[in-house]
Amino acid sequence: MDAILLQILNGLDKGSAYALIALGLTLIFGTLGVVNFAHGALFMIGAFCVVTLQRILNISTVTIDPTKTDFLGNPLKVKTPYIIEWFGEGAGMAIINWSVPLAILFAIPIMLLVGYVMERGLIKHFYKRPHADQILVTFGLAIVLQEIIKAFYGANPIPTPAPEVFRGSFDFGVLIGMAENAVIYPYWRLVYFAFSALVIAGVFAFLQFTTFGMVVRAGMADRETVGLLGINIDKRFTIMFGIAACVAGLAGVMYSPINSPNYHMGMDFLVLSFVVVVVGGMGSLPGAVLAGFTLGILESFASMNQVKGFFEAIYLPSIDQIIIYLVAIVILLVRPRGLMGRAGVMED
């Protein structure tokens, strides 16, 4: 029981990331009709917002402390981040310590801007082009964004620690009346899950309760009709793209303590998120979320030693590496439209 609970919890954080990326992909696909192969890059950019913010916060003055010497015997150079100079020791350190959550504020305008530029500058011109062209151009964009990040931040992962209070783990099992040390769970993963749930709820509430959201949902159901209603679709598309970019970016921001940002994380997550979208059903938002969590948890279960051992016995080693793909294959064979896909979406 405790082992199962632990795996479910472990699956939640990856599942949340899949769900958030898949949600954005589906939103863009459903409203704009574009398959965005550069969506993973947005996730990556989000993560690198954290790196950038950390670097900005750590810009320091260098003073020489004559009372101490370094190991060569020279006077010690002391780096003091400006932020500490300005806000004093306590507040300054706290700001640096909390840089990951702070990066949310930093990332939102950046992601909105990136989304805006991407949609207005590029995607807009591809609404009427064939799907193959859309895939190709966003694919090229994914390479470009990834390489730019690589050129500026290098090829190695850059650690971005969570705030100190969230760094450890806690005994989740005790909280729900289990034995001690049965379910140990890192704080930050729980924070990530809660954050994702909040964002997902926010997106759904936005779509459900605002007139804007109503138009978007109508657009996802039948794009042509909404066009005929004379609603300014263009502007709404841009906003929609910005929101999707923001969701992916925030997913990246909060994921950075779990997985140190590196330049290829975007594509790694994109491929799996695509599988999630396909499994959930192209164009279905609840499908994307459901499939994201399901696949994340399944992946986590597959990495359990007992499960692995069982599959190794039937000649399927390292089931955790391929479980998602296997599930996707089975689902596509049994339910070609995915779990919650609708008829007529991308049937070409």
Binding site: L122, I135, L141, I148, Q321, I322
Partner: protein, 393 residues
């Protein structure tokens, strides 16, 4: 009209053969006349020709073709390790294994078309990539890549007494032997490996041309244009698309096998999504659906990759040294992102440029320019007579 077409084909084939065989001479003035690069032209030419059969002819955009290339490489290296250093068995195994692998992946991916298909092939390729890196280490040697060792059995070759690794050969002709000649101040290098690849390229091109002109090829074109109508013509399109997928997978396997023949090692990075993207770019850059386009695209990309990768900051500084210092540094700083290790960034930008401005590829772009020049020469009152764009009535 059809006889004329066949004559055109013969002419194209002859020209193509001559150009490829004369590659070491023709390309030497451009600094591309050395074996390693020439071999890459041929190998990626084959890869792109095969990809074009699926994408250009049948209209299925696969993002996982590098997987078949990788599988071909691994198979070939295993043949070198176990059986013999002769390239023929290695290539046969590479093509067969890649064919079987593509049959499996195609069978599943082709249940869907359009975007779904692209996503599925991408997912499969990533799966193969991560498997090659981790679980399949006994077969792929993981991160290090699969290499020859002195202890390999090589059953047919007999005991290796030289103490150094044997080289690949074609019935005794070693692949890396090169004859060099001085000619007009250039060194012309005629390499066995290149000529072997060149013959393969010519054969691959010939086969592709036959496929293009066959009833099967016509069916593939019909699938690309209108699958609905083809279904209502009583044709089950699945076997055709699967056949196209397997054929192009086998081409990729051949290319991967040849890679191993010229340099007997295989690594998982050959299967990465960027490698799959590269062949897509080659094909669309040259012109998807045309016969010659993919080969040109492959040559273009590999040539510029070679040039761009060699440029470093020193070279840039020497180019712009005539400028004032500040400006020079600025220009060099900007450009250094695009050259050397930054080649992939250039590649990505090129990718976008081609899709945005030149969806028909270089060949179509060239014909547009020719039309435009002709149009300018003729007075504006006379219509350009093009039977394809004439109005119906």
């Amino acid at each position: 009209m059809i006889d004329k077409l066949q004559n055109n084909d013969r002419m194209l084939m002859t020209l193509f053969t001559l150009m490829v065989l004369a590659g070491p001479i023709l390309l030497a003035p451009f600094g591309a006349g050395y074996p390693d690069l020439l071999q890459r032209f041929c190998i990626f030419g084959i890869f792109a020709i095969g990809f074009n059969i699926l994408f250009g002819l049948t209209g299925y955009l696969s993002f996982g073709h590098a997987a078949f290339l990788g599988v071909g490489s691994y198979s070939a290296v295993w043949m070198f390790k176990l059986l013999t250093m002769n390239v023929i068995p290695a290539l046969i195994l590479a093509v067969v294994i890649a064919g079987l692998f593509s049959l499996l992946i195609g069978f599943i991916s082709l249940r869907r078309s359009g975007i779904y298909f692209s996503i599925l092939t991408l997912a499969f390729a990533q799966m193969s990539f991560s498997l090659a890196y981790s679980v399949l280490t006994p077969i792929t040697n993981g991160e290090t890549g699969l290499q020859l060792t002195l202890n390999d059995p090589r059953i047919l070759d007999g005991a290796n007494t030289t103490g150094s690794l044997p080289s690949t050969n074609f019935f005794g002709l070693t692949m890396n032997s090169t004859a060099k000649f001085d000619f007009l101040g250039m060194v012309l290098q005629f390499n066995v490996g290149f000529y072997f690849c060149a013959v393969m390229l010519i054969l691959a091109f010939y086969l592709a041309m036959r496929i293009f002109r066959s009833p099967f090829g016509l069916m593939l074109k019909a699938i690309k244009t209108n699958q609905n109508r083809l279904n209502y013509t009583g044709v089950n399109t699945r076997p055709y698309t699967l056949a196209a997928f397997v054929i192009s997978g086998m081409y990729a396997g051949l290319a991967g096998g040849l890679m191993a023949c010229t340099d007997p090692l295989a690594g998982a990075e050959r299967m990465q999504w960027t490698a799959s993207g590269e062949v897509v770019l080659m094909t669309i850059l040259g012109g998807a659906g045309t016969l010659l386009g993919p080969v040109l695209g492959a040559g273009f990309i590999k040539y510029f990759e070679n040039i761009f990768s060699k440029i470093n900051d020193n070279v840039l500084h020497s180019w712009f040294s005539f400028l004032p210092d500040g400006l020079e540094d600025l220009i060099v700083w900007v450009l250094h992102f695009f050259v050397g290790k930054g080649w992939h960034l250039t590649l990505g930008l090129l990718f976008m440029m081609v899709v945005i401005f030149l969806p028909g590829g270089l060949l179509q772009g060239a014909s547009h320019i020719i039309d435009w020049i002709r149009g300018k020469k003729q007075s504006s009152s006379t219509q350009i007579s093009n039977p394809n764009s004439m109005p119906a009535e």
